[in-house]
């Protein structure tokens, strides 16, 4: 076991544990905090994959901006303990086996999808370091139009949020 493997397993475990706690927690604020934990450990995994810019954006935008918005709304609406409902019979008996089957299926096919790849192209082979400069060149040349389109998307989102949250006079 070398250091990258140990780091990977630590942060993979932390992220899966955070996702599990998101499901098991009854209070929405606990779910939000565990989701922040998942995002932080995913940022570390992005760093290990050599994507520094994405890791920084993950922390600043996701764990920072978006989750602060979530926590703000949770506190604004004073969201208390979640009520449990009695599940339907189908969900009770078919849901869990089908869910486990979906997990196994996804894991199996993703694990075998790259079996034929040469190790030289494997993750972290460190022959080509992806730099933020290359990423920005790509973003502002090849993907310039989608980049500009996202600004219009954000403008529409701001207007939509304002209209929706406006209290009726």
């Amino acid at each position: 076991m070398s250091l990258p493997f140990i780091l990977f397993f630590i942060f993979a475990f932390v992220s899966v544990a955070g996702a599990l706690f998101l499901i098991l927690a009854r209070e929405p604020i606990h779910s939000a905090l565990s989701l922040i934990l998942v995002m932080m450990s995913l940022a570390v995994l992005y760093l290990m994959l050599g994507a520094e810019f994405i890791a920084a954006v993950q922390i600043i935008v996701y764990a920072g901006a978006i989750m602060v918005l979530f926590v703000f709304v949770i506190m604004l609406l004073n969201a208390g303990t979640e009520e449990r409902t009695d599940f339907s019979k189908i969900a009770k008996y078919a849901g869990l086996p089908l869910g486990i089957f979906l997990l196994l299926e996804l894991g199996h096919w993703m694990a075998h999808s790259l079996i034929g790849k040469t190790p030289a192209n494997g993750a972290g082979s460190a022959n080509v370091m992806v730099s933020t400069r290359d990423l920005s060149m790509q973003l502002f040349q090849k993907y310039l139009f989608p980049f500009e389109a996202t600004s219009i998307l954000i403008l529409i989102a701001i207007l939509g949020a304002l209209v929706l949250a406006k209290r009726d006079e």
Binding site: P4, F5, A19, A32, L42, L45, V61, V73, T150
Partner: protein, 102 residues
Amino acid sequence: MSVVPVSYYLVLSAILFGLGVVAFVFKRNIITIFMAIELMLNAVNLAFVAFARAWNQLDGLVFVFFVIVVAAAEAAVGLAIVITVYQNRQSLNIERVNLLKF
């Protein structure tokens, strides 16, 4: 130095996506359901970054950037909808929002 294979990241991504689906289906709080959507988007982002690394292509990272932008816009509009639902129903339970239920 041995390195972590891409398939490990993809398995982790699949597990996180599956847990996101489970949370989406099982949770009863509207805000928590939104968080489950964010978890699924994160899992997809991890797969994008892993594939971008495996093929040494930057397009995957650009896609992650766009996914994060769309997630931010979606969170802003979605939480505004949550606030409106709460004003109308005085509850965050998804079972109470059944106007269109047949």
